[in-house]
Amino acid sequence: MLRSLALALGVALCAVPVWANDLVTDFTLDNGMQVVVVEDHRAPVVVHMVWYRAGSADEKPGVSGVAHFLEHLLFKGTDTLEPGEFSATVAAQGGRDNAFTSYDYTAYFQRVAADRLELMMKMESDRMVNIRLGEEEILTERDVIIEERNMRVENSPGALFREQMGAVQYYNHRYGVPIIGWRHEMEQLGLQDALEYYGTYYAPNNAILIVAGDVEPDAVKALAEQYYGVIPANPDLPERARPQEPPQTTPRRMVYTDPRVAQPYVTRSYLAPERNPGDQRQAAALTLLGEILGGGTTSVLNQKLQFEQKLSVYTGAWYSGVSLDRTTFNLTVVPVPGVSLQEAEDAMDAAVAEFLETGVDAEQLERIKMQLRAAQIYERDDVGRLANRYGRALTSGLTIADIQEWPEILQSVTGEEIVAAARAVFEKKNSVTGWLMAEEEVTQ
């Protein structure tokens, strides 16, 4: 709906440069609900999100998948909203909504015109405490999540393999259980399981409101107090102390075979420390290590295995320090035809050993740091991503200060620290090595 059309010459947007943490305002409501506002006034759009400090790793044993199941059920109506009415209302405003579940969080979001923020808050605060569920729709939605598991996991040998790898990596922590759930437990999930999880974790003192876009912090605060501020805190909110890993003393190996595998590969995961409040230096070193070993064309693994030895199609290294409890550092090598997985694994180990001896290439480290500095500029073009970064960090035990100090910590990490962090993490006894291959190759 357009108000007017003007022809003019060189009329640009009026915009004031905003930098780094100046974009972000945060405060806490009286009931304990944390609020983060990320400003971007270039377009009249807002992303409204509520993050709960509860994910699949907070589930009780025996009901795996219930956190994700509940996420689906939150679209099934409340005392005042019919099933499906939430999304239909968002759509009627030209908006889009969805939700996602991970190990450490469950989050709900809508992307709408900025002047529709109040309606979003009204509906989202309502379903924080007022969902209404019937037995029949529970069963239909259980079929939906089982089809979701079929799509994401059962139809993908790579996903089945990763699921088995995770289960072997963690002896005692719930990170070893898939977010979507084990199929046999998903098939038994019931109304009471979902409501129990809801009653335990869905409360303002366990939630974070994040609003990003064309909004003023004062206006967000007034609305947040009106809609979320009136919900009583849950005095019985349990402390987030999940079962922790015992010392791991044995390297584990697995071979996963599936005739649907077209491209075999070897992958290794090591248990690794995560970012902790006020203590992020080692995680910063591991983040840079991941880039050095696996970040693109000039990375160590690519240079050695793909360019020099010509034995890999692809190599990679991953580490994400945003995790409430211990996370993993992962290496992968996809060999070219004719190179066995044993040869690929040996070459990967040799490349890492050589790196530990020769240390960090100073120019490579500087290139990576340059890209991290630039990422802070590029990130301003998409405040939704920035909002996501805050949500993931705050639900993983970090503070606003930790998030804002992180870029500077990354810039200050030295090559020596990176090698020291690598030596500490690359302990075989903490690792799982997996081979993914097609059945026919196993019999050879």
Binding site: R3, L5, L7, L9, E148, T298
Partner: protein, 432 residues
């Protein structure tokens, strides 16, 4: 020297909040046209370049040449080898994307203001002077072959490959744009050079830029970046006449969940009924939770995690496609429900309430797309490729709102054809 052909301010209203997007059409001294939005608040620029034709330009027997060529653009250029090129790009924190599709080659760049000229010189080298070294050719060829082998065992990829082969036959749309194991293995460096010469030419080029740059700066910049490209490229491929026959084709593949692609004839973007068809497709199977197919297949019956159907107006053919996945013992019921809904909406039409809701969604969502330099650059280049006028974004919502219930229901009768709706199912489906 700059020549302003047209300068233009579109006032986008997200009812009632408003943002202004000032699009300028710039013509460089060398004659390269581009759409520009100056947005100096963040010190970087997003640049989008499209070359029409894409992988459908592959010469006979050279399937996969364009795809492999585009994959090689950043693997050696000028005096730089692949490592040298990557290191230079990393040092500048420039982000380049090289992508090919069956209608276009897409080049994307995001460059910082502080080193814009150096970054674009690097991009220029990759577009104008790629060296296609033999070592890189073998390395990237192996990556493409690995991808092709994976596609042969991926149910989604198997389904689209089979569907395209049945519908498009010998036309380029009918085969995998990555090529086959045989065709890619046989490609020579000369084939890659020829594909480059044929695909990246000025007579099929479209450009947009958004960010920290002025119209005065952009013209000379485009001449330096793109001025040396050849004026003309390979002959454009012919239009295709899709063959859609209402069959259910099953590809046997041992996996627990069957994947289905379904489709029928679509509609050209320039058709006067296009917006009526777009509203119809939103109601039937649009992206949200409230479409008829999502309601009937997922919400009421729990038969799938997601089902979507949409108009696919391509440069050389127009289709109306959909996709769904259900467990092998439930896919039969899913297909029956889809056929029922297809027939029902065709014969009974939609309600006034459904049409109002779809209009509210489409008109409300449209201004929300223009929310960042990269997204605006993408939209603007797409508008040019589709030959839309520069004021399209001002009139677009009016066109949506002008559609009547009678229009939609007439189009539903004329367009939707449950008899020819064709399915390809990959899996071990029961009762199909």
């Amino acid at each position: 020297m700059m020549r302003f052909v047209l300068s233009f301010v579109a006032l986008m209203a997200a009812v009632p909040a408003m943002a202004e997007i000032a699009i300028k059409e710039v013509t460089s001294p060398g004659g390269i046209k581009a759409w520009l939005v100056e947005e100096p608040s963040i010190p970087f620029m997003a640049l989008e370049i499209r070359f029409k034709g894409g992988t459908s330009l592959d010469a006979p027997g050279k399937r996969g040449a364009t795809n492999l060529m585009v994959g090689l653009l950043e693997e050696g250029a000028g005096d730089l080898d692949a490592q040298g090129f990557a290191k230079a790009g990393e040092s500048l924190a420039a982000q380049f994307g090289y992508d090919s599709g069956d209608d276009a080659v897409a080049i994307s760049a995001r460059v910082l203001s502080e080193n814009r000229d150096e970054a674009l010189e690097l991009l220029r080298l990759s577009l104008i002077a790629p060296s296609f070294p033999e070592t890189a050719l073998e390395r990237v060829r192996n990556q493409v072959l690995s991808g092709i082998r994976s596609s042969l065992k991926d149910p989604d990829k198997i389904a689209s490959a089979r569907f395209n082969a049945l519908v498009f036959g010998d036309h380029p749309y009918g085969s995998d744009e990555n090529g086959t194991l045989e065709s890619v293995s046989a490609l020579s460096r000369e084939d890659i050079v020829a594909a480059h010469r044929g695909a990246l030419a000025k007579d099929r080029m479209y450009v947009s830029a958004v960010g920290d740059i002025t119209a005065e700066e952009l013209g000379p910049l485009l001449d330096r970046l793109l001025g040396e490209l050849p004026e003309t490229g390979a002959a454009m491929p012919a239009q295709s006449a899709p063959q859609i026959t209402g069959t259910v084709d099953v590809v046997d593949f041992d996996t627990p969940q069957s994947v289905a692609i379904f489709g029928q004839a679509g509609m050209h973007r320039d058709d006067p009924d296009f917006f009526a068809a777009y509203l119809l497709s939103t109601i039937l199977g649009g992206g949200g939770f409230e479409s008829r197919l999502m309601t009937e297949v997922r919400e009421k019956r729990g038969l799938t995690y997601g089902i979507y159907s949409y108009l696919v107006p391509k440069d050389l053919a127009n289709l109306y496609l959909g996709s769904v996945a259900s467990a092998n013992d439930r896919i039969g019921e899913t297909i029956a429900v889809i056929r029922e809904e297809w027939a029902k909406i065709s014969s009974e039409g939609v309600t006034a309430e459904e049409l109002d809701a779809a209009k509210a969604l489409l008109t409300g969502a449209y201004p929300l797309r223009f929310d960042g330099n990269s997204s605006i650059a993408n939209i603007m280049v797409g508008m040019q490729v589709d030959d839309m006028p520069i004021d399209y974004m001002v009139t677009r919502n009016d066109k949506v709102n002008a559609v009547t219930l009678e229009d939609v229901n007439r189009v539903a009768r004329e367009l939707l054809d449950p008899e020819t709706l064709m399915f390809v199912v990959v899996g071990k489906p029961k009762g199909v």
